[in-house]
C-alpha cells in the first residue's frame, strides 16, 4: 500500500522513534569521505544524494568478524562457552533494491540443512527500508540481471523519493508491523514519486544464456578465462563489498590459555583460501579463483539455491583497483558458443 508519506524533516523523528525502541538505525552516512552504511543517531548524519553506499549492509547481519565461542585452557580441562547471541533490532534505511535482493542468497546458504543462527537471528530482527533509485552511474546493471530500481525482493518497506519526502509502501508483514509501530511519524497522503533511474540493459548479455554456457564443461578450460582475469591482483575487494559474498574463515585468537573463536570474512580470491596442508592447491592461479567467483554468481548459486548470485549493484566494478569489470566478462561469456 502506497498511501503513506514521510516528510524529509520527519526522518529524524523516525530515527528517534526506532532508537527509543532499542533498535539501531543504519543508514548511508559519511565515513572517511565516502558514503557508507553505519549506525546513525540523527537525520543530520544521513546522506541522501548517494548512488549506493560503498559497503554492503550485509555486515550488519553477517559481521566482518564475530566471536562464536570462548575457551579457557586449564591444566586438566578446557572451559568452552558458545556465544549466546542477543540479536539487536536493526533498521536498515536507504538500502537499494538491488542489494536487498541479496538477502535471499545469504539466507539460502546460511540455512540449507544446518542453520547458522548467528545470521538468522539477526536477519529475523532486521527491517529493510529500501529507497528506490532516482540516480545511478555506469556501474549499475540491475536491469541486466532481472532486477529494477524498485525491485521488491528482500524489501520490507519501500520508500520512493517525492517532493518534500518519500512515498512509503509496506511490502511485507514485517514492514507493516514496523510502520504500525512508528505510525505517528508518517502522514496519510498519497503523492507522486519522482521518476526512477533505469540502467540501460547491457546489449548481448543474457544471464540465462550465461548459465547455460557455464554448464558446458568444455568452456571451463576456455582460454578466455586466463585472458579475462589476467589483470586481477587478488585483493578480494570485490568479495568484501559484494552483498551476496558470504565466505568466511574460522580462527582462534588470544593466548595459548585463553581466547575466542571467531568467524571472519574470507575471500575466494585469496591464494590461501583453498590451499591444502599438503601444499596442493586446487585453485593455484588467480584466474581459477576469479573463474570460481564468476561461476558461483552465475551458475552455482542460481542452480543450487534458485537465487541470484549477482544483483547488479556494481560495487565490484567501482571498487576494483584494476578495473576488472564483471559486465565485460558477462559479455564475453554470452559470446561463447
Amino acid at each position: 500500500m502506497t498511501d503513506l508519506f514521510l516528510k524529509t524533516e520527519d526522518l529524524g523523528r523516525l530515527i528517534a522513534s526506532v532508537r527509543d525502541g532499542g533498535a539501531r538505525f543504519i543508514a548511508p552516512s559519511t565515513d572517511a569521505r565516502q558514503t557508507a552504511f553505519k549506525e546513525v543517531s540523527g537525520a543530520d548524519e544521513v546522506v541522501s544524494d548517494y548512488i549506493l553506499a560503498t559497503n554492503s549492509y550485509k555486515e550488519f547481519l553477517f559481521p566482518q568478524t564475530e566471536v562464536i565461542s570462548t575457551h579457557k585452557v586449564m591444566k586438566d580441562s578446557v572451559e568452552l562457552k558458545g556465544v549466546e547471541l542477543e540479536a539487536q533490532g536493526t533498521v536498515i534505511f536507504g538500502a537499494r533494491p538491488c542489494e536487498a535482493a541479496s538477502l535471499a542468497a545469504l539466507g539460502a546458504v546460511f540455512t540449507w540443512d544446518f542453520v547458522d543462527e548467528f545470521y538468522t537471528k539477526r536477519e529475523a530482527d532486521t527491517v529493510v527500508i529500501a529507497v528506490a533509485c532516482t540516480r545511478g552511474d555506469d556501474a549499475c546493471f540491475c536491469t541486466t540481471v532481472g532486477l529494477s530500481p524498485d525491485a521488491t525482493a528482500g524489501v520490507d518497506v519501500m520508500f520512493k523519493e517525492a517532493d518534500g519526502g518519500w512515498a512509503v509502501a509496506r511490502l511485507t508483514d514485517k514492514g507493516s508491523t514496523f510502520v504500525e509501530k512508528h505510525k505517528d511519524v508518517f502522514e496519510k497522503t498519497a503523492c507522486a514519486p519522482k521518476p526512477l533511474f533505469y540502467p540501460e540493459k547491457i546489449k548481448g548479455v543474457d544471464v540465462e544464456k550465461i548459465k547455460e554456457r557455464l554448464s558446458n564443461k568444455g568452456h571451463y578450460e576456455d582460454p578466455v578465462w586466463p585472458e579475462l582475469a589476467r589483470k586481477c591482483i587478488g585483493c578480494g575487494a570485490c568479495t568484501f563489498t559484494c552483498p551476496t559474498c558470504h565466505c568466511f574463515d574460522i580462527i582462534d585468537e588470544g593466548t595459548a590459555y585463553e581466547g575466542e573463536r571467531r568467524k571472519n570474512w574470507d575471500a575466494c580470491q585469496f591464494d590461501h583460501f583453498t590451499l591444502h596442508a599438503s601444499g596442493h592447491n586446487p585453485r593455484d592461479t588467480q584466474y581459477k579463483r576469479w573463474r570460481n567467483r564468476f561461476m558461483c554468481k552465475f551458475k552455482f548459486y542460481p542452480d543450487k539455491f534458485s537465487s541470484k548470485g549477482c544483483v547488479g549493484c556494481g560495487r565490484c566494478i567501482r571498487v576494483c583497483p584494476v578495473r576488472l569489470d564483471i559486465t565485460e566478462v558477462m559479455e564475453e561469456m554470452s559470446k561463447l558458443p
Partner: protein, 277 residues
C-alpha cells in the same frame, strides 16, 4: 541458541606415533550421554580443535564397528596440527561432526573389495577396511594396495602387519623408488603401477581409494584399464574446509560442496564434476 560451530569436548585417551610427524589419537567424549548416543558411518569426517589455534578437518579414521570413541590420524603440517601434536594423553581437544556422506557398505555385500591408498590417504580407507573386516563374512575377496614415499612414511605399521598375517586379506605394500630400506620386503614403485601389476579382478568388485589428488587420478585410470567401471570406484575428496556444514564456501569443486554432498564419490560422479581439484 543452537551454535552449529560449537565443538564437543573430547579427552585424548591414547596417542600412537605412526610415522614421522604422523600421529593417531584415540578420543573419548567428555559428555557421557553423547559418548553413548554418538553414531557415525564409515567415510564421514569431523573438525578437530586445538583450542587457541583453531580447527582442522580430518576423516574419522576408526570404524563405527569399534564403539569406544573415535580415532583420528593427522600429519603435523601447520598451525592447528602443530598444536594438536603438542597435546598429550589426558589433554582436552574439540570435535564437531560427524559430517558428510559415507561409503555404502550395504550395497557392497557379496562383492570383492580392493582398497588402494597412498601415504596419509590410508586413514579414511582404514575406517572402511576395519568396518569390512569386522563384518568379514558379508564380503568376498579383500585386497589392499598401500604405498608411501618411504618405508618410514607408511602409517598404521602394526595394523599392516595384522592384515598381512590374515589369510583372508591380500596386502600389497609399496614405496616410491628410493624410499626403500635395506630390509624392505615389499614392492618398489608408484601405487597406480603396483596396482596394475597386482591386477585384482573387476568382476563383482568395488574399489576404494584415497591418497594425494594426483595419485587418485592415476589410480582411477589404472582401475579403468583393469576393467573396473567408474560406478564401482569410490574415493573420498578431502578438500580444505573450515565450517564443514556448507557455509564457508571453500571446499566446492565447481558446483559440488564436498562437505555436504561428499566427501565420498564414485569415479563416475567425479568425472561429471568441473576440473577444479
Amino acid at each position: 541458541m543452537n551454535n552449529i560451530y560449537l565443538p564437543h569436548l573430547m579427552t585424548i585417551e591414547d596417542i600412537y606415533e605412526e610415522a614421522p610427524d604422523v600421529r593417531t589419537f584415540s578420543l573419548a567424549f567428555k559428555d557421557r550421554a553423547l559418548a553413548d548416543s554418538f553414531a557415525f558411518k564409515t567415510g564421514q569426517f569431523g573438525l578437530y580443535s586445538a583450542f587457541g589455534l583453531g580447527e582442522s578437518t580430518f576423516c574419522i579414521a576408526s570404524p563405527p564397528t569399534r564403539k569406544h570413541g573415535i580415532q583420528c590420524t593427522f600429519r603435523k603440517s601447520g598451525r592447528v596440527t602443530g598444536g594438536l601434536a603438542g597435546l598429550s594423553i589426558g589433554d582436552t581437544m574439540g570435535f564437531r561432526g560427524p559430517y558428510g556422506n559415507w561409503f555404502p557398505l550395504d550395497e557392497w555385500k557379496g562383492k570383492d573389495i580392493v582398497f588402494i591408498a597412498g601415504g596419509i590417504g590410508l586413514p579414511p580407507v582404514r575406517s572402511v577396511i576395519w568396518n569390512v573386516l569386522d563384518r568379514r563374512d558379508e564380503f568376498g575377496k579383500i585386497t589392499i594396495v598401500y604405498g608411501a614415499k618411504t618405508v618410514a612414511d607408511l602409517v598404521y605399521k602394526s595394523e599392516l602387519a595384522l592384515w598381512d598375517e590374515r589369510g583372508d586379506v591380500t596386502l600389497v605394500q609399496t614405496v616410491d623408488p628410493g624410499g626403500e630400506s635395506p630390509d624392505w620386503k615389499g614392492k618398489i614403485g608408484f601405487v597406480p603401477t603396483v596396482l596394475e601389476e597386482a591386477a585384482p579382478s573387476p568382476v563383482n568388485a568395488v574399489a576404494v581409494t584415497c591418497g594425494p589428488p594426483i595419485m587418485i587420478k592415476f589410480v582411477i585410470k589404472a582401475l579403468g584399464k583393469l576393467g573396473f567401471a567408474d560406478e564401482a570406484i569410490y574415493t573420498t575428496l578431502e578438500n580444505k574446509m573450515k565450517c564443514g556444514v556448507g557455509k564457508c564456501g571453500r571446499c566446492n569443486v565447481g558446483d559440488v560442496y564436498i562437505c555436504k554432498e561428499g566427501p565420498v564419490y564414485t569415479a563416475a560422479e567425479i568425472k561429471k564434476m568441473y576440473d577444479d581439484f
